[in-house]
């Protein structure tokens, strides 16, 4: 029973995040059917409405660089588990994103795991 409730809650959360994202701007630029995980170090994390702004220092095959991402609204982040003081500049973080369709750096953060292991979204 608890598993069923968890599945319903998870599906509802995903639908909420995606539909709410689409309500605020066109989601055409990002592929919400794909999920990519990226690790890096937080440089800027602005929690705001209608969307948050995040800059993460990422090191991968293309080298080290700062990449800007968009997050969901402050209100929906809160409902997905975000709490004040959960992360700060300099912290390591693992993000899940809907990547840009054109393959460029950036995308829409749908969830993340902090260095302490706190999980928000999916």
């Amino acid at each position: 029973m608890n598993t069923v409730r968890l599945v319903i809650a998870s599906v509802a959360l995903i639908v909420l995040l995606v539909t709410s994202a689409m309500a605020h701007h066109s989601a055409a630029a990002q592929d919400f059917g794909r999920r990519v995980e990226i690790e890096g170090v937080i440089k800027v994390w602005e929690v705001a409405n209608p969307h948050g702004r995040v800059i993460i220092e990422v090191t991968d095959a293309k080298g080290k660089r700062d990449i800007e991402y968009e997050t969901h609204s402050r209100n929906n982040m809160y409902r997905s588990g975000y709490r004040d003081g959960m992360m700060k500049a300099g912290d390591k973080i693992k993000i899940s994103i809907a990547p840009n369709r054109d393959g460029s750096d950036g995308g829409y953060i749908t969830g993340f795991v902090t260095a302490k292991g706190d999980k928000v979204g999916n």
Partner: protein, 249 residues
């Protein structure tokens, strides 16, 4: 003496009966369905079953050529950037504010003379007035959510909304002449309250015939709304710009 006592008793009895009738009538007038509470998109409790607004693909609406021209012009303007009013902290306006609520929850505060509806997204607020609270049409200013007047038809709340501004940035685009009628009913499923709104939009300037949509919400026990602060980053960036331009910088 006996006659005076009987007469006095009859008067007292009459007063008591009329007072009781009046009390009963007053109670009858206030015993309406209580829509108060916090509401989210309808949830049936079954995996894969969602309610909310009309399920399935959205049918093409019977826009007039003039409406289509205005909407196409707007889309050509914003499509390259994906901009929306919400991205600029502007509320959707009716009927989108109502039909889109639920992802971000909706709160209903019900009084006999006014029902206040708060949509969390963009802090949009509608006030539905009853009876003496309704002001003359000439004293109303057009707004994105219009001016709403309510009445009860049995247990159905009927809300008529006019004095809307023209909005082309939502599916149910409309002119300033639009009239929206919502019929709200309360039911219960598996012990949980369900609120249903049947909306009809009439606007000869934008539609060749009235258009309708049904929206459902489920109650959220002990639910709460958050404030939707939206302009703060914009204001902080403006302050940074002012600092750069300040004398001595």
């Amino acid at each position: 003496m006996v006659h005076r006592m009987i007469a006095s008793f009859q008067v007292s009895l009459a007063v008591l009966v009329f007072a009781s009738l009046g009390f009963a009538q007053a109670r009858g007038n206030t015993e309406r369905p209580d829509f108060s509470g916090v509401w989210t998109n309808y949830q049936s409790g079954q995996p894969g079953q969602r309610g909310g607004r009309g399920a399935g693909t959205q049918a093409e609406l019977p826009y007039t050529p003039e409406a289509k021209r205005k909407m196409d012009e707007y889309q050509a303007l914003v499509r390259p950037t994906g901009d929306t009013p919400g991205g600029y902290c502007l509320g959707t306006g009716m009927p989108g504010s109502m039909l889109g609520s639920g992802g971000y929850p909706m709160e209903v505060i019900q009084r006999a003379d006014q029902i206040t509806v708060v949509y969390e997204a963009h802090n949009e607020i509608r006030r539905i007035y009853f009876g003496n609270r309704v002001i003359p049409v000439a004293d109303r200013l057009p707004e994105r959510n219009g001016y709403s007047v309510g009445r009860w038809e049995g247990n159905t709340l009927v809300v008529e909304t006019e004095q809307l501004t023209e909005i082309v940035s939502q599916r149910f685009a409309h002119s300033a002449q639009a009239k929206i009628v919502e019929r709200y009913t309360l039911t219960e499923e598996n012990g949980r309250k369900v609120l249903t709104a049947e909306m009809t939009l009439t606007d000869p300037a934008f539609y060749t015939k009235p258009v309708s949509e049904t929206k459902r919400w489920s109650i959220v026990p002990n639910g709460f709304l958050m404030t939707y602060e939206c302009n703060e980053p914009l204001w902080e960036r403006h302050l940074e710009e002012l600092k750069k331009k300040a004398p001595g910088k």
